[in-house]
């Protein structure tokens, strides 16, 4: 049963996920264990997207299946215990592209991170405020325009000015973002896709 649920999730077999969750609960399996299985499935889904086996529509579907299963399990007292950590995410000021950012948020949440999604067109001050309020040690910025690089840089500078740079790791991403951009912005890492975002958060929050 254990791996079967994660695999059904990864295969996006909605009926099977529902059936296994139902059977698990009926059989007295801990709802929290079932929820963690689903999260494992989400990680596999991210990996399949990264290798090109899965597409955007698959990630969206995964988010939907996961949401339903997680709600059912939470209703039965399921919880994955404390989250793996907090992440603040947003699309930077001047940019309103949200598809890529939304995918990153879904995959981070699926991997059990507590994500504060600030939406699009987020000015540096709002990022700083959210980092302060939540105490998140990871900040993710998305931007699809070359013109987005300056607001990213300004946000990193604002973190520095607020005395937060030392305790907050910064990752950036979005179509045209490159290693040169990362250097220009002063971010700690760039992520080419949502899986990279999950891996970076894992690396930083485990440390």
């Amino acid at each position: 049963m254990a791996n079967e649920l994660a695999m059904a999730m990864a295969d996006l077999d909605e009926e099977k996920v529902q059936a296994l969750v139902k059977a698990g609960l009926a059989g007295g399996v801990d709802p929290s264990a079932l929820l963690n299985e689903c999260r494992e499935g989400m990680t596999l889904i991210g990996q399949r997207f990264e290798t090109g086996e899965y597409y955007l529509s698959d990630l969206i579907m995964a988010g939907e299946i996961f949401k339903t299963a997680a709600a059912d399990l939470a209703a039965q007292g399921g919880s994955s215990g404390p989250t793996k950590g907090k992440v603040v995410m947003g699309t930077v000021k001047g940019d309103i592209h949200d598809i890529g950012k939304d995918i990153v948020v879904t995959m981070l949440r699926g991997a059990n991170y507590e994500v504060t999604d600030l939406g699009v067109d987020v000015p540096p001050a709002k990022f700083i405020e959210a980092v302060k309020e939540t105490g998140a040690p990871v900040l993710g910025m998305s931007g699809l325009l070359t013109i987005s690089f300056d607001p990213m840089k300004e946000t990193v500078a604002a973190l520095q000015a607020a005395g937060l740079r030392g305790r907050v790791k910064v990752m950036i991403g979005g179509g045209p973002v490159s290693e040169q951009v990362r250097e220009y912005v002063g971010a700690d890492a760039l992520g080419v896709d949502a899986q990279a975002a999950v891996a970076l958060a894992g690396q930083w929050l485990a440390a």
Binding site: S57, E64, G94, I147
Partner: protein, 231 residues
């Protein structure tokens, strides 16, 4: 300043599935999804309000780093002079499928209809791609009928031609007449809009057979390479 609104965009679901169906195989197995797809195809056809505003500007001087128009404006760096060198005029246009599409994408998302929102977003992108290709084809037919040649088209920001020239384009064209405005960060609103430019001249220009994708900085990293246009 000519405005063209009479575009019959085609939203051929069968053709779309032939091209992109492999990316939707799993989601289409979900109960109710084929109906969502049908409904979204109807929705894009209803909501798209294609419009193009454009003008042909005489070239005064073609410098290595930019084109100087007869009105004194400077436009185009990066590959522009390579692609359009020799042009006597530059045809510059802004294409949009209107605000209703973007508004509906947002509404679906807010309502938690994520699949519908995603699909309409994709169809909106394809629609504006199709519109820009149709507009370009129209320019080409017009040029040919006058015994002239047309270069391939480029859009600022997609290649080394800076997105900052969006400001020049919006000075040259009053795109508010088709409901498109430029934000401070040079983003066009509504989002499903594209600007483009092509050279018109008495001799062939640029490298035959190349398209804007060949000059794009995304190169092979872009999953849409060569597919911007059309459903």
């Amino acid at each position: 300043m000519p405005i063209l609104r009479d575009w019959r965009l085609t939203f051929d679901q069968a053709q779309f599935m032939q091209e992109y169906g492999h990316t939707f195989v799993r989601i289409l197995r979900r109960p109710g999804m084929p109906e969502v797809f049908d409904a979204t195809f109807r929705e894009i056809a209803e909501l798209a309000e294609p419009a193009v505003i454009w003008e042909s500007f005489p070239v005064q001087e073609m410098r290595h780093e930019a084109v100087i128009l007869a009105g004194g404006q400077r436009i185009g760096n990066g590959p522009v002079t390579t692609v359009m060198g020799g042009a006597s005029h530059l045809a510059i246009g802004v294409c949009t499928v209107g605000a209703a599409v973007s508004d509906r994408i947002h509404e679906h998302k807010e309502a938690g209809e994520v699949v519908r929102s995603m699909l309409l977003d994709q169809l909106g992108t394809l629609a504006v791609g199709q519109l820009s290709q149709r507009f370009y084809d129209w320019l080409k037919t017009d040029a040919t009928s006058r015994g002239l040649h047309i270069s391939t088209y480029l859009s600022p920001g997609e290649s080394e031609w800076s997105v900052r020239d969006q400001a020049v384009i919006f000075d040259l064209l009053d795109a508010t007449q088709i409901g498109v405005s430029l934000t401070e960060s040079l983003l066009m609103k509504p989002i499903k809009s594209l600007s483009l430019m092509a050279g018109i001249g008495s001799q062939p220009m640029g490298v035959p057979g190349t398209t804007h994708c060949d000059y794009c900085t995304m190169g092979d990293r872009c999953p849409f390479h060569g597919k911007h246009a059309g459903i």
